[in-house]
């Protein structure tokens, strides 16, 4: 049988109701002297509250985004962007296959309007005149080995970047490094385009920390490939808020909410 519980212990509560004011002051001075003696012996005179390990572990600002699948991003000269998973073949000496670009745009999971993508992620070169090709000899690519061209592209991309942890490869750099190319007379090719687009790829399972792109209480996306993902995430959030769909939107949204509450 359970005994009747002990009545609440009021040892921590105010017990001075029966004390005179003089007694209370005397007691207080005595307690203070004791504390000072301990202080002189080394007891700290202040205590800083630490966040719990749980809070540090699950801190809102340290949320990360892990991409559930490979992401490919196509950016044009006006800063519009298409995001999808299809690949776009790039042929050395010719450029991106137009048919691939058309299909990519058509099947894109997300489309961002002109002006979305900042300059540093836009293509290095932009077309200045319409393609006016009289010579169709090079249009027939049936004999071209796309598979190995694509493989060459992948290999070149891998070799271009030492930081594999990013998992992001920059194809427009390839365009600007095309360099010695004797195809100058064949720039205008209706089946290929070698300027006007930048193409990015982020590998599946790449982890991105949005907080790395914060400077104090403002966004300061790093001028690297993760930064492009963040820019698009911010654009998505601005248009659609926290609706499901864009990978990691909850993380971005929670940071924005936090930042909004700090201002």
């Amino acid at each position: 049988m359970t005994e009747k519980p002990i009545l609440p212990d009021t040892s921590g509560a105010d017990t001075s109701s029966s004390e005179t004011e003089f007694d209370a002051e005397t007691r207080r001075i005595s307690e203070r002297r004791q504390l000072l003696t301990l202080g002189a012996a080394g007891l700290p005179m202040m205590l800083t509250l630490k966040a719990s390990a749980r809070e540090v572990l699950i801190s809102q600002l340290t949320c990360t985004v892990k991409l559930p699948q490979r992401m490919r991003i196509l950016v044009d000269c006006d800063g519009a962007a298409w995001v999808g998973t299809r690949s776009i073949d790039y042929v050395n000496g010719k450029g991106f296959e137009v048919a691939d670009i058309v299909k990519f745009k058509d099947k894109a999971s997300y489309v961002f309007p002109s002006g979305t993508v900042p300059n540093n992620w836009r293509p290095d070169t932009c077309p200045i005149e319409e393609c006016n090709n009289d010579d169709d000899d090079d249009d027939d690519d049936d004999d071209f080995d796309f598979e190995s061209a694509s493989a060459e592209l992948d290999e070149l991309m891998r070799a271009s970047f030492s930081d594999q942890a990013d998992g992001i490869m920059l194809a427009s750099a390839m365009i600007s490094r095309k360099g010695d190319d004797d195809d100058d007379d064949d720039d205008c090719d209706e089946d290929y385009v070698d300027s006007g687009y930048a193409y990015y790829q982020i590998n599946k399972n790449t982890t991105i920390s949005p907080a790395d792109h914060l400077s104090g209480s403002t966004w300061s996306t790093q001028n690297n490939n993760n930064g492009l993902f963040i820019e698009l995430s911010l654009a998505y959030e601005a248009s659609y808020g926290n609706t499901a769909g864009w990978p990691g939107i909850s993380c971005i949204f929670s940071i924005i909410t936090y930042l909004g509450q700090q201002s």
Partner: protein, 308 residues
């Protein structure tokens, strides 16, 4: 327009979950859920039957939780499920049969991580007309059992996991999700409330056996009614221990509440004001007990409200 989950057919719910359009409204949050499998479906139909839902969201949602296989392989071969709230979380994949646990964990993580409208403190909360009792304790300290027990004595459920403290005033906001019961507490609460209120037991989880005590209709109906705190408790269950209550001064209460918060440091000044506001004029006690009856007796004595 929300309706009770129980008016929808199983197939409608299954489709909405599969499409990722299933929306659960509870307390201050709306949750967009997606997932597959009968385990998840049966759990929701049973344990969330009286909750307000939509088969597609009518507005932006606060939480987006996808319960999915950790990789393609695990969708088909020894299927697993992991909660994905859209960002990295410290959660391991579970067998698909434990979808209930993945769901509850996922929602907890989402709210703990995302919520910036409130100071979150890891605590159970119940309330009557006089105010709310906040019971802050680590897992296993007995707060869920005490929460469940108090519901039988005129208190309504706010939460067994989070005290949501408003930033614009020290008010507690309800978020009455099912109470999670672990191991030995399952038969204790089952005896208290009856079989009908307890979900199927999820056996062999990383936390042992787990079951859920679903929220009552009348508590769900009041999930938009906040309350001021009337009492703060730091419960500690230990078998065989003599019951005792020790009153804490406000500084001691704060010293315990702050580390129990999942977002105090993040929120900064508003959190400081909210927590100090909460303890102002609110008594706080540390209580130790060896049985549910003893815990209720202690609360009875502290509050002066006759229960037993």
């Amino acid at each position: 327009m929300t309706s009770s989950l129980n008016i929808f057919s199983k197939e409608e719910i299954r489709k909405a979950l599969k499409d990722g359009s299933f929306t659960l409204h509870l307390g201050p949050f709306s949750h967009l859920l997606s997932g597959r499998g009968d385990a998840l479906l049966d759990f929701l139909i049973d344990t969330y039957r009286d909750n307000r839902v939509e088969m597609s969201p009518s507005d932006v949602t606060d939480v987006q939780l996808s319960l999915e296989a950790p990789n393609v392989l695990r969708r088909f071969f020894r299927p697993q499920v992991t909660p994905n709230p859209g960002f990295e979380v410290p959660a391991m994949p579970l067998p698909l049969s434990m979808s209930a646990l993945a769901h509850e964990m996922g929602l907890n993580l989402s709210v703990a991580l995302k919520c910036c409208r409130f100071v979150n403190v890891h605590a159970g909360v119940v309330a009557d007309d006089e105010g709310a009792i906040v019971m802050s304790a680590a897992s296993g300290a007995g707060k869920s059992t005490l929460t469940a027990a108090l519901l039988q004595y005129g208190y309504r459920l706010f939460s067994d996991e989070f005290a949501l403290i408003g930033l614009d005033g020290p008010i507690l906001h309800p978020y009455p999700r099912p109470i999670s019961l672990k191991q030995e507490t399952i038969p204790v609460v089952r005896e208290m409330v009856g079989d009908n209120w307890i979900s199927e037991v999820v056996k062999g989880s990383p936390k042992g056996d787990i079951a859920y005590y679903r929220a009552r209709k009348r508590d769900l109906a009041r999930d938009q009614e906040p309350a001021k705190a009337k009492l703060i408790l730091f419960p500690n269950f230990e078998k065989g221990v003599q019951p005792i209550a020790h009153q804490l001064n406000p500084a001691e209460a704060i010293m315990r509440l702050v580390p129990a918060s999942t977002n105090y440091s993040l929120l900064g000044e508003p959190a400081f004001r909210a927590i100090t506001g909460l303890v102002e004029n609110t008594r706080a006690y540390e209580i130790s007990y060896g049985s549910t009856t003893d815990s209720l007796r202690l609360v009875e004595q502290i509050t002066g409200k006759k229960m037993l």
